[in-house]
Point group: C2
């Protein structure tokens, strides 16, 4: 019924052996649902009563806007879970309508059964808690960045945070493109600001190494913004 070799590759079941996975699943009720191409898996607005994991094929999330048109949000391939962040909480309704891109099989575990699983296996519990926590932290960080108005402020904040109290120099682990996305700005705009900050002798960039030349100055950008 379930191909456990695929299931254990899902972020949720990561680190759990196939054997253990089989044992776990034998202890709960679940369904494997099959969908033909373009079949609707769940309607947006429906209450989330099951955890879905894509076992084969792929599905897409689509949002219905105020005029009734559908807009594709993202593709979800096997073996990723579906709307795992909406299983709990106040608004546990699907934010999107999910449709099968092609023939697809989905594992459906009712919430109550999923709770049992979480209580049976510590690794699974940790995986799930980590995934929704990481998501919340990501959102929180992103919000913080958006609260700074200018790009220079965002950059100053980011660099000071990365450097911490002790260091004045560190390695960038992201490309400018990735940083630009984190800040919600375009890449050339970010590059321009980085250039300006260098000519103002606030920072120095060599390859991937950033050196903060004037922490005081960087700070004052955050105050007077």
């Amino acid at each position: 019924m379930i191909d456990y070799s695929i299931l254990v590759k899902s972020p949720l079941f990561n680190g759990i052996s196939e054997e253990e996975c089989r044992t776990l699943c034998s202890k709960i009720h679940y369904q494997v649902r099959k969908f033909e191409k373009d079949a609707i898996v769940v309607q947006g607005g429906e209450e989330v009563t099951n955890l879905f994991v894509v076992l084969s094929g792929s599905v897409r999330g689509e949002m219905i806007d105020y005029s009734g048109k559908t807009v594709k949000i993202e593709d979800i391939e096997a073996p990723r879970p579906l709307a795992a962040a909406f299983l709990f909480g106040k608004e546990n309704k699907f934010p999107v309508t999910v449709t099968a891109n092609k023939k697809a099989e989905l594992l459906a575990i009712p919430v109550v059964e999923f709770l049992k699983l979480l209580q049976l296996n510590t690794r699974l519990l940790r995986n799930y808690l980590n995934s929704i926590s990481t998501r919340a932290q990501f959102l929180s960080q992103k919000l913080h960045f958006l609260s700074f108005k200018t790009i220079k402020e965002k950059v100053a904040h980011f660099l000071l945070q990365q450097a911490g109290d002790r260091f004045h120099s560190f390695e960038l682990k992201n490309t400018q493109q990735q940083l630009a996305e984190l800040f919600g700005v375009t890449r050339p705009s970010l590059a321009r600001v980085l250039g300006e900050m260098q000519s103002e002798n606030l920072i120095k960039i060599e390859k991937k190494t950033v050196t903060l030349l004037d922490k005081q100055g960087l700070n004052s950008l955050l105050q007077n913004g």
Copy 2:
């Protein structure tokens, strides 16, 4: 040691009887830590290795900016938990420095022990999952709003949300000044955009009454932005 009548009023232990609570706690290791007024409970940046619940007194979360100034973020009174959203995930460090406002007692449960608790009691597990999920959903919504780049997009989103599916006309309950603050823009900029949207025949504003003349058009602003 622990005043269970207070603990069960905490959102985490909500719906669990005092008796059950006592039994649960007897099965794990924990500490009750006492702090004098102005004692530091945790330094910002420290790894979160314990779940803290304020049992008596109150503490405050403060952020230390890069120039050394402290900014108060929020007060946490008994029996609320502390940084519950940062127990798991990639960045499980305290985002704030926590200081006692007055004499305070805090329950400290190591992460591993808290996991045990979650596996012992379904209600507790549900409470915790609900609290971090609700937080993630709140952040997600807030982010969605901030993610609109232009003022026009923000206005369009706001108006469509206010009107809902059915209505085309409604009363504004806020002044332009208040709306401008909600959107994070200046008042004249908002007025200009409202004027533009009127001359584009998207909306009509009479006194406090807003009429949506072209929902389709408002929608397309959100797509192509």
